[in-house]
Amino acid sequence: MSEQKDLKRVAYYPGCALEGTGHAYDRSTRAVGKELGLDLVEVENWNCCGAMEVKNIDPKLQTYLSSRVMSIASEDMGFDTVMAPCNGCYHNLKKAEYDLTNDPENVAVTERLSEKAGHPTYKPGSVETIHALDWLKRAIGEEGLKERITHSLKGLKIANYYGCMYTRPRHIFPEKDQGPGSESTLQPHFMDDLLEAAGAEIVDYPLKTACCGGAHTLSDSDTSTKLVLNLLEAADECDADIIATECPTCHSGLEMHQIRAETKLGKKTNAKIVYFTQLIGLALGMNARTVGIHENVSDSINFFREKGLA
């Protein structure tokens, strides 16, 4: 990880989810970036990263799809950093980087498909893929954020939920687990650091990287509901007001299965599901609508009004 790199202007790869169910994440990420003076330049003519469906059928095609995004960012747009807020996109771009560095078969397929598609083959190492958490942590940092907070999150108890793809598998994230200042794959803490800097009380949440059953939500909804219910009940048990998320799939799963757990299993839970970028936006004094609180399924607007944040 190049700590000194200037991340004030980076290529932005929103991915498909942020144009759909995760639109509030896109909205709040862009709004927070603008407020903090960080320039997000959307990758031109981007495509799907190959998340889940393509990867499970043809992993090499997924590698190619992700490599095309990085190729455009580096070769056409001249960027050395791509920021992907979605865990699935972030994971897949990192995986493609690893595949193209270590697997000649993947390289051959990517070269062939790139040539056929008429664009330069991505050269491994040309860009660094970072998550929205890395972006804010490295570009602004806790101290920089503290200086800009106008509406402290003081009084909010937050359980941070990172999901499974932000840290796994470890070997595609070589910059993690590098000691102080780097992210941990065992106990991720970047979201904790940022929201604590915004004034929130971070609760000790033991299921922060546990599976939410996101990939099974259509084929086996009951398992997903049970997994999510356990995550929600654990958050309630920790006295958390909010579960902060940084992945659109996890976020949607938590929201939808919270409702399903109540209607199907009669289990009501209380934690609000909110993107971490929405929370940072509120702490920066931004309007609830600007950060897309109204777009969340989990209704938190009255809660934030009570707290003087909306």
Binding site: L61, L113, P206, A210, A215, N230
Partner: protein, 146 residues
């Protein structure tokens, strides 16, 4: 193989144990039963070895061999061990009932996850994160890319 219903009931009972340390140990043992089920379902013999002092962690490692997506429960197992240690180190802590309950929720998550994984054959890949990355020779026929 221990029925998951038995394990679920055992986890619930451990929370009510008047001796928190005994309850915490029981939760780790139920965690081992869960992972034994996974290992046995793969026609392997569950290891008796320990890793970092815990058989639970050795079983998790064994279960992930050849199926890296099983690492999605690695930290869940470590959290269970952490809570067990926390309870043993501070048995008089006022937070003890809450800690034991939290440990039980971690154990329950492990149980739900492994149950879901064991339905994989019928329902398709459970975890989306990592399996193909490690498959040098995917079982499915790879289409002709050219």
């Amino acid at each position: 193989m221990t029925p998951f219903e038995t394990i679920t009931a055992g986890i619930a009972a451990a929370v009510g144990d008047s001796d928190a340390r005994r309850g915490a140990d029981a939760l780790v043992t139920w965690g081992e039963r869960i992972l034994e089920n996974w290992v046995e379902a793969r026609d392997e013999t569950p290891t008796a070895n320990e890793r970092e002092g815990f058989r639970l962690l050795a079983l998790q490692r064994q279960g992930a061999k050849g199926d890296p997506s099983f690492n999605a429960c690695r930290e869940t197992c470590r959290e269970l061990v952490y809570h067990r240690n926390l309870i043993h180190d501070e048995p008089e802590n006022v937070e003890m009932p809450k800690r034991l309950k939290m440990a039980a929720m971690v154990a329950r998550h492990l149980c739900l996850f492994v149950q879901g994984k064991m339905e994989e054959d019928a329902l398709g890949e459970f975890c989306c994160s990592s399996r193909p990355l490690h498959n040098e020779k995917p079982t499915e026929e790879v289409p002709n890319h050219a």
